[in-house]
């Protein structure tokens, strides 16, 4: 691993998830360390998005435990709303609030959840929009923005809650190819600042260049996990070789 990690921030322990009869996550064990960028790759339907969605309990798991900083989010009595404030989520389809401006999208969480004043929330949102390169679009509505701009607003919206970990669920998959770079650039910046990230992606260049660790999933299982350089050059498992060969 490229950095020294002292503590696990997100932990999956023996996680099983079913959609009806379908067993979509099978006995998942995974620990993401503080400041680590963990990239999850794998073929469609391998369970990687589901894994991410379980981490902030958008999906319920049937057995096992998922913890954030040692506190279970999957337990029946977990204070989900409070735990989710510590987890930022960015979606494939952006899911910006269409009736609110870019600025209002970013200020909503801090105002309603953290109880920030409008002025404080706006200050914070201005900084974040500037950081994702959109300070000139603060008053635009999502429908007036390109996909790449929308996704950058969505990242700013998640960051506004000052989360300890960011989850990225195929955030560039719905973008036109020429807009992918601007979003990856923002994510790269976050990684360099030491944000803990779980990234589900098909962007192998990003996985290799930014990831501290690559996790390969297949049919609901983690089949290989390791250093990106090593994974992409010479995967340990046959499944890994197979996956990489299909990318070429």
């Amino acid at each position: 691993m490229s950095r020294a990690h002292d503590a696990s921030l997100v932990e999956f322990e023996g996680v099983d998830k079913y959609f009806g009869e379908a067993h979509v996550l099978k006995d998942i064990d995974l620990a993401v360390d503080d400041q680590e960028v963990c990239v999850v790759v794998g073929p469609s339907g391998s369970g990687k998005s589901t894994l991410l969605r379980c981490a902030n309990r958008l999906e319920e798991i049937q057995s096992g435990d998922i913890r954030l900083g040692g506190e279970s989010i999957s337990a029946p009595g977990a204070n989900v709303d409070r735990l989710r404030q510590r987890i930022g989520m960015v979606f494939q389809s952006f899911n910006l609030f269409p009736h609110k401006t870019a600025l209002e999208n970013v200020t909503l969480g801090p105002r309603k959840v953290r109880g920030l004043s409008k002025a404080d929330a706006t200050d914070r949102a201005d900084r974040l929009l500037d950081r994702v390169g959109l300070s000139d679009q603060a008053d635009s509505y999502p429908s007036q923005l390109s996909g790449g701009q929308q996704q950058r607003v969505a990242i700013a919206r998640a960051l506004a809650m000052e989360p300890e970990v960011m989850l990225f669920d195929e955030v560039t998959s719905a973008l036109d190819p020429e807009l992918v770079g601007e979003v990856l650039e923002v994510m790269r910046g976050l990684a360099e600042e030491g944000m803990t990230m779980m990234v589900v992606t098909h962007q192998m260049g990003f996985a290799r260049g930014v990831g501290d660790r690559v996790v390969l999933m297949s049919e609901g299982r983690i089949v290989e996990t390791g250093d990106p350089e090593r994974f992409f050059d010479d995967p340990d498992t046959e499944r890994g070789q197979q996956f990489l060969s299909r990318l070429l």
Partner: protein
Amino acid sequence: MAESYSESAAEADEPFLNDRKLKLMGIAISGTFAFAVAALLAAVIVLQVDFGLFVEIVYPQFVDAFVIVLRIVLISSVLSVIAGMLVGLGRVSETRFTRAISTGYIEFFRGTPLLFQLIVIYVGVPAFWPPGTFPISDFSVPAAIIGLTLNHAAYIGEAIRGGIGAVPDGQMEAARSLGMSYVQSMREVVLPQAWRNALAAIGNDQVILVKDTSLLSVLAVPELISTFQEVNSATFDPWTPIVLVAILYLVITVPLGKLVRYLEVRADPAGSQ
């Protein structure tokens, strides 16, 4: 393959209805219709309307009736939107019991005639008191308001449910992911969008509510239709009060339609639709 293609191409040479013909037909039909209506209106106004009587019945008879209708409409309208919001939220509740109750409510109030519901309330409710002891001396207007509210809450509830259903799941997920509670997410994110989606249907329903006040004649509410009947039976003049009734309904429903359109535009600041 080539044969069938040339065949259909040959047919397409002389279509019965081409774009230009359709346009002309539309103009011809609407022109004929407009002419017929104008002729009828002219005939009514010139030959049938007694302007002396018109002025005589406008005030106080019809103005009083109009004020009563307007008051009942305003109150029932506000109450039915509030109640409809609750019914709609109940319909999408995650709790099976709440959902079942809301569904049952809608089934009953949509499934039985409004006239029947009005009678149940007007005649049925006072029957719970011993004869002569019902505390409200003239129950007709309260009964009308209760009936219209309960009935239209069912339709508005369905409109709201549809409006909520049309908001993508990702909106709720994004809101919850920020740590907002279900209530906060609904209030800040889902309902404003659902409201916009449902506005056209709600507006439609409110126009129907205005017209449904005509049923209140059976509760002896002195509204527009019963006033028409009074004037008609006293004077044997049908058209003078008919014209007045038409004008007074339209005075409410046309601005109402405009108001709904205005609200729709206002609820969509991005102008996306």
